[in-house]
Symmetry: C2
Subunit: 445 residues, 2 copies
């Protein structure tokens, strides 16, 4: 069934035109638009409620991440948020991460860390059934769940929050060489995912920091609100987080001096962890010679809610959201004529026909009908453009012409056309088909 | 692509036959089987890791709940787990729930309650955009997310834990009469859901307890491990939680004395809350006369992880899990001949043909191939029966007969048959079709 906009909980914040808005907390474009358009609401300092339309984008994003993780044979699990502080003592991170850990105590006086990441929890899980057979390796386990961090300064809406949705994958291998193969495989899945989203991303070298380990990369979206700075070579594909290189004058790869710096948002990171956690917590495997050995680990994170914030930050205009097709809460929004207008009757007939045809072409759940027929087409078109639905179709005054015409707006292309019904259907088909083909193309690269 | 059992992380606990198992913590059948079969692992007192096969059941359960909630027009959202303790002060529940709340403090000294339920959070959300128009009512918002409770005594595996997955729906109505209509609608969705699961459930009257409000019902699965006792009339459909009626001698509906008591597990509850939270937190709507009024609320919960535990508790045998079709991690499990056996070559050919045909009939993701061909068919059949896959198909020695035969085991029916290929495919088709028809039938009732 097609969704009807009038039934959706979507509490737009009406800001009077002459109001002096003095909201110092709103620090980014995506945050401003998501709040004003009633897609998220602040629930506290660094926590948000995700409302129905944004929830659909979040769920689309999680499904997309599932698809790409499963493409490399990763298996989904659920680890608890409450992790015993003893595990964090064993790994030595109870002190290291002290500033950002949220901790709760139960009635027995036991302390639980609200997981900001789950190396301790997953390693302890695998340790429970250790030694596992070398035949079970490589093992890739992941979850999509909440993470908690006591951020000093939450900001930029979904980009830096106290509580957020994250995909974290952990890999287990026989040794360094095998772990590198796994690392590259997951890197390919990340590239395919970000390419499918159609966002401008860069992979950079990064510091291993408090995770420890051998090697780390981050994936960034350039943005002036970014809290990181990346440095990259204009001539080769060297790129690094500036933390890594303090005062670089030359490209360490091609030794030229055409280096550029750019502010950016980290959306994902990968680490070759080595034996740090498996040693501390006793995760081992039986080698083919029958002797046990510590497992070589890696970890791979993508902030799901942050990825949505960063994607909107990168694609949106100052005044309007832009959703990539893969995340769009609805792919197509249809606007019929205003009630009481002279085109109403004819528009209703055509819109019914159109919706029936769209439901044959797509999952009907992807189609949104803006049935707020008491509003003018102009007002509704403006609002839906701000909401960023990729395809908007209007059945307005041109529907009265002898060759009844629809307006089709392609928002990511910033284009619009007037089309008769059969052409409209053809063009929509071609548009989504070409997007899919692009994806398939990128996936093959 | 068909899933291969050899690739799945499934750390079965091998208990030596002569071992004296002294595990006082294992207190229920579902817990024992889930742990022994490597579907969950304990992560602490009352917290569990959900491993890949069980995660599929959890995700199936969440999808099923989504379907039934959306059938009554409920909209999905996400509320944060961290809720300000100020909200709990305002509603008066900071003291009421004191014993079971897990609380954490951030670096600014602010206290956050880890939501055991979200009446405060949702009411505060709606209050932010209050007054909303009466035209927006009834409004039904729900989420599927984590809940935290500092249980005095976590037990029975997934049934009573410190951290669990729950569906909580909140309804907003103009007044009592309208709220009752909503209440009945959601009650119907609950009935359809539990009927689709094929579990023996009972709806009973319940106390409003610390939730407050006008009316409350619970949904129970009878079980000797149940921590509740329900009392019900053998002659009419009166049923109640014993908390409600201390010492009942006669049925309060049909006034006869054929009352029975039974232990049971609560799997869901519903409350007509009234104005308790909307008044305390200022959630209002504009009446058609233009005047604001507090919204009349209801709340409706289903413990998703608990529902899985309780369903397995009700359907499983002492030694083997039984999954209802709607939750089964895989619907069909296929066992080819042992490698090196004289039937191997022929079995492999038939199994390939079978899998191709099953992938045409079902989502290929629903088919599990037990490719651990180094094990005998007998051992694999026994293990897969314990795992409770609804349909198991064996291509064993009978595949060598001139009219090659498969064994088909229907576990919920506790039956098995030998069938040639075309009959096998027909029977499988009929079996799933009849199950669907049952569902559709129940949905219409």
């Amino acid at each position: 069934m097609v969704s009807r906009l009038s039934r959706i909980y979507w509490p737009v914040s009406v800001v009077p035109k002459d109001a002096v808005v003095k909201n110092q907390d709103i620090t980014s474009r995506s945050q401003k638009l998501l709040l004003e358009l009633g897609l998220i609401k602040s629930a506290g300092n660094g926590t948000f409620c995700i409302l129905p339309i944004a929830e659909r984008a979040m769920s689309n994003c999680a499904k997309l991440v599932d698809k790409h993780m499963q493409s490399v044979g990763a298996q989904k699990i659920v680890l608890p948020s409450l992790t015993s502080s003893h595990l964090w003592e064993k790994s030595g991170r109870l002190k290291d991460c002290c500033g950002e850990l949220l901790i709760t105590k139960d009635h027995q006086g036991k302390e639980h860390v609200l997981g900001p990441t789950h190396e301790e929890a997953i390693t302890s899980l695998v340790a429970q059934s250790s030694p596992i057979s070398y035949k079970q390796l490589p093992l890739k386990l992941y979850q999509i769940g909440l993470k908690f961090r006591d951020e000093l300064k939450p900001r930029f809406g979904l980009i830096r929050t106290k509580e957020f949705l994250m995909k974290d994958l952990y890999s287990f291998d026989v040794g360094l060489d095998e772990a590198k193969v796994t690392y590259d495989e997951i890197d390919s899945a990340y590239k395919a995912l970000f390419t499918e989203l159609g966002i401008p991303w860069k992979k950079v070298r990064a510091s291993t920091g408090m995770m420890g380990g051998h090697l780390s990369n981050e994936y960034h979206i350039p943005s002036h609100i970014g809290e990181d700075t990346i440095i990259f070579c204009e001539k080769c594909d060297f790129a690094s987080n500036c933390e890594e290189y303090d005062d670089l004058k030359q490209c360490p790869v091609c030794v030229n001096s055409d280096l550029r710096k750019e502010k950016s948002i980290e959306i994902a990171h990968t680490f070759l962890l080595g034996h740090k956690y498996s040693k501390a917590l006793g995760a081992t495997f039986l080698q083919s010679n029958g002797k046990p050995k510590n497992i070589f680990m890696g970890c791979y994170g993508i902030g799901i809610s942050r990825l949505i914030g960063a994607t909107l930050e990168a694609l949106s205009t100052e005044n309007a959201l832009r959703w990539p097709l893969a995340l769009a809460p609805y792919k197509i929004c249809v606007i019929p004529a205003k009630s009481g207008s002279k085109e109403e009757a004819k528009s209703d007939v055509w819109v019914e026909k159109l919706c029936a045809e769209l439901c044959r072409m797509f999952d009907s759940d992807q189609i949104l009908l803006d049935d707020r027929n008491n509003l003018t087409i102009g007002k509704r078109l403006m609002e839906n453009k701000r909401m960023g639905y990729p395809v908007i179709i209007v059945a307005g005054s041109k529907i009265l012409e002898s060759d009844a015409k629809f307006e089709m707006h392609l928002q990511l292309e910033n284009s619009s056309q007037e089309l008769i019904f059969t052409d409209l259907i053809n063009e929509i088909g071609k548009y989504f088909h070409s997007k899919q083909t692009e994806e398939e193309f990128h996936e093959k690269v």
